[in-house]
């Protein structure tokens, strides 16, 4: 037993040594502090099962698997990684949590750890180590990884995907603008001008988890609105919300028809086909254009910018955080944490970050120096995704209630109902407040 443990430890040490040699080769600009890794001896006979969402861009999976293989070689711990559909991850995490069996690690969605706080491990030691070594965690990473109101880390954020503005430069120029204005009135004028030159904009208003929530949250936040206050009291039926709704009603005629029925992939398809000039999305649109030689011209004409800050002075965007948690039911908590540490270390993390060309932005500040962010200036806007200071259910606590209100599209339906003209802003805000109160009852 001792022999095996020692060998494992040695192997880890050797791996770390080999890895430490690489930065010496001068291929990376990541500033790394010299911090002693937490002493977590890998358990004898450990095996790990990891669940994570399926790739959106190919390198996400291939590089992740390569890094995992490296971990297996270095430690002798067999690791099985399952990439599963985004929609299926939630139910599978729930089953693992309720039955106390299945995967040891789930790399899940931002809210998930907050639903299972008493079923997952305290990862504070690991988070502290990574934070000190890599220049600290970004705001949103910390927000989503710490148990609400405490400094306890219940998750290790691994990446964040935000949805800034994606637009066609030449058409925005033709509409008389040099760049995406930061002011709401000007932004509306831009959209109206784009519509006039037959290049309408398009934002999802259907039941699209990612895109519709991103757009409607932006509308609300940019006008100084928020769904709940710090104490978890619903604050939707306010002037700021009504203003946002009126603005949304003016935005709607500038959009291509059919956005009320749009799902998450719809704006990607419409943008790539050249049917819309502007939308909000992750880097996936640009990635698809860039990788298709036939679309080179469109890719060259595509650029990104933050959505207008409106009245709040900072980009009113959130990010989808890839939040890794370790279940208490695992028999190998140390192996699980070592795996997460291994994946977050520069030798593994930087190639992955680069390979995803900005799809998952880093939660640790040091990685902002990664070459990927200078390799293509057009994706620079994604760099600070995890620095966004808004989250689902802003400003309230991240709880089951915030997750439920988002899943029930409370905010999206409020905007969709007003945009389509089936409700007045006042009625829609009052109804949405009631719907949100169903979840934020206590």
């Amino acid at each position: 037993m001792n022999i095996i443990t020692r060998r494992n430890t040695l192997a880890l040490g050797a791996g770390a040594l080999a890895a430490a040699a690489l930065p010496g080769a001068g291929y990376s600009a990541i500033p790394v502090a010299n911090v002693e890794p937490p002493k977590m001896e890998i358990e004898k006979g450990a095996t790990l099962r990891v669940l994570r969402p399926t790739k959106f861009v190919d390198p996400d999976e291939t590089i992740w698997r390569q890094s995992t293989d490296k971990f297996v070689k270095a430690t002798g711990v067999p690791v099985r990684v399952d990439f599963i559909g985004w929609e299926d991850l939630r139910p599978q995490t729930a089953v693992a949590a309720r039955t106390g069996a299945g995967p040891d690690i789930v790399v899940g969605w931002p809210d998930d750890p907050h639903l299972y706080t008493d079923k997952i491990l305290d990862l504070s030691e690991l988070a502290d180590y990574l934070g000190r070594k890599y220049g600290g965690w970004y705001f949103l990473a910390e927000k989503y990884a710490q148990k609400w109101g405490t400094k306890t880390w219940i998750a290790i954020p691994m990446g964040g995907s935000s949805g800034p503005c994606v637009y066609r430069e030449s058409w925005v120029k033709a509409a008389g603008f040099d760049k995406i204005p930061n002011d709401l009135e000007q932004f509306l004028k831009l959209c109206q001008a784009l519509q006039k030159i037959n290049h309408p904009v398009g934002f999802a208003l259907g039941n699209a988890v990612g895109d519709a929530n991103a757009y409607c949250n932006w509308l609300l936040w940019a006008h100084g609105g928020y769904m709940v206050d710090d104490d978890g009291k619903v604050t939707l039926n306010r002037k700021q919300t009504i203003d946002a709704l009126k603005y949304a009603k003016e935005m709607y005629p500038t959009m291509i028809s059919g956005t009320l029925g749009w799902g998450d992939p719809s704006n990607n398809k419409a943008f790539i086909a050249g049917d819309i000039s502007l939308t909000s999305n992750g880097v996936s649109i640009y990635y698809a254009l860039k990788n298709d030689p036939k679309m080179a011209e469109v890719a060259a004409d595509t650029n990104h910018a933050h959505m207008p800050a409106g009245l709040v002075g900072k980009p009113p965007e959130s990010a989808l955080i890839l939040n890794a948690m370790v279940f208490k039911h695992t028999k190998f908590p140390n192996a699980a944490q070592q795996y997460l540490r291994f994946m977050m270390e520069q030798e593994q993390y930087e190639p992955w970050l680069t390979g995803c060309i900005g799809y998952w932005a880093q939660p640790l500040k040091a990685y902002a120096q990664a070459a990927v962010w200078t390799s293509d200036p057009k994706i620079a806007v994604y760099k600070d995704s995890c620095a966004n200071e808004f989250w689902n259910g802003y400003k309230g606590p991240i709880t089951a209630a915030s997750g439920a209100a988002t899943a029930d599209y409370v905010n999206v339906h409020m905007f969709a109902a007003v945009a389509s003209g089936s409700a007045t802003p006042e009625d829609a805000a009052a109804e949405a407040e009631k719907r949100a109160q169903r979840y934020y009852k206590s």
């Binding site: 929609e87 939630r90 139910p91 729930a94 949590a97 309720r98 639903l115 299972y116 706080t117 008493d118 079923k119 208003l205 259907g206 039941n207 699209a208 988890v209 291509i256 028809s257 059919g258 956005t259 009320l260 029925g261 749009w262 799902g263 719809s266 398809k269 419409a270 086909a273 049917d275 089951a400 997750g403 439920a404 899943a407 029930d408 599209y409 999206v412 339906h413 969709a416 109902a417 389509s420 089936s422 109804e431 719907r435 169903r438 979840y439």
Partner: protein, 318 residues
């Protein structure tokens, strides 16, 4: 010898073992044969159903336990406009889609019942929509109904120039509802048509001959021979079709997710949305349980319709 032989047999029988005797016992045999089936039913049907009903009376959330809260979930749902809208939509969806499936399915069955060349190949082709996995056909319809890339819009706008704009299939509530109903009808027709065709073929041709000798018109033949003879199977098919349609999930989930603003939400999709992505297991279970009365009602309808055996003889009920 004559006397001894039976005695020997009698003596030998107990030697054959208690097991054999046990299996001779009718009660035991019945129990033994039923156990696997009952076990499967209990584990895979009764237990989940019971658990679902129990969850509906708790405030369970996906992450943790819950407590018994009585009918609180149902009271809260009764005051939830989204839920009430969903119940209306589910009933509407079921009623219109079932009517459509039966009208077209019966028509198709009557056509197929004529002696056609290659009739068995045609019948096989007709089953295709039913054989294709629902999710695949749903994705096909998702493309057909796409606001920008719909093939229907493409033909009407870009090829035939009949319309100036693309049809917004999924972007307005009523368009979206009827688009989903059309997809459901397309999918459901084969089941109805093939079942009714089977029913039609059991009707003896002599009945039609007799009717023709009496000078009955085609409509009268349909009204007084086909329709009554088809009633029993129609009742069964109708029940199944209502059950399938009422609990439909995949089409709506794959095409609209219940959007725009929950106007195409069905009870099954709302139960999932609130229970799993929303994490409110108790409430999701309550929505699913609220479907049970509707499903029981339609099953009872079938039971009573079926018990009227006289339909099969084409006589009036007493």
């Amino acid at each position: 010898m004559d006397v001894a032989a039976p005695a020997l047999i009698l003596r030998r029988r107990p030697e054959a073992g208690r097991l054999a005797r046990l299996f001779d016992n009718k009660t035991f045999l019945i129990c033994a044969c039923l156990t696997p089936a009952i076990g499967l039913l209990v584990v895979f049907l009764a237990y989940p159903l019971g658990l679902g009903v129990w969850l509906a009376f708790t405030d369970t959330q996906i992450g943790g336990g819950g407590e018994y809260v009585g009918i609180e979930n149902f009271v809260s749902l009764a005051h939830d406009p989204v839920f009430l809208k969903t119940v209306f939509q589910t009933i509407f969806y079921t009623a219109v889609a079932t009517a459509g499936k039966f009208a077209l399915g019966l028509w198709l069955a009557l056509l197929l019942n004529h002696a056609l060349p290659f009739s068995s190949i045609i019948r096989a082709i007709i089953l295709l929509p039913w054989i294709v996995p629902t999710v695949l056909s749903a994705i096909a319809f998702w493309w057909i109904y796409d606001p920008q890339f719909s093939i229907i819009s493409y033909v009407l706008v870009d090829r035939l120039h009949l319309l100036a704009h693309n049809i917004d299939f999924l972007g307005t509530p009523w368009h979206a509802r009827f688009s989903l109903i059309a997809a459901n009808i397309w999918r459901g027709i084969p089941f109805v048509a093939i079942s009714l065709l089977a029913g039609l073929q059991t009707i003896s041709p002599s009945l039609y001959e007799a009717a023709m000798l009496d000078g009955a018109s085609p409509w009268q033949r349909f009204r007084f021979v086909t329709a009554p003879m088809l009633m029993p199977i129609l009742a069964v098919v109708l029940t199944f079709s209502v059950l399938f349609t009422f609990s439909d999930f995949q089409l709506v989930y794959a095409i609209t997710r219940g959007g725009p603003f929950d106007t195409t939400q069905l009870m099954a999709t709302l139960a999932f949305q609130r229970g799993i992505p929303g994490g409110q297991l108790g409430e999701g279970a309550a929505i699913a349980v609220a479907m049970i009365p509707f499903l029981v009602a339609s099953t009872l309808f079938s039971y009573f319709a079926l018990s009227r055996r006289k339909w099969q003889q084409g006589e009036a009920n007493e």
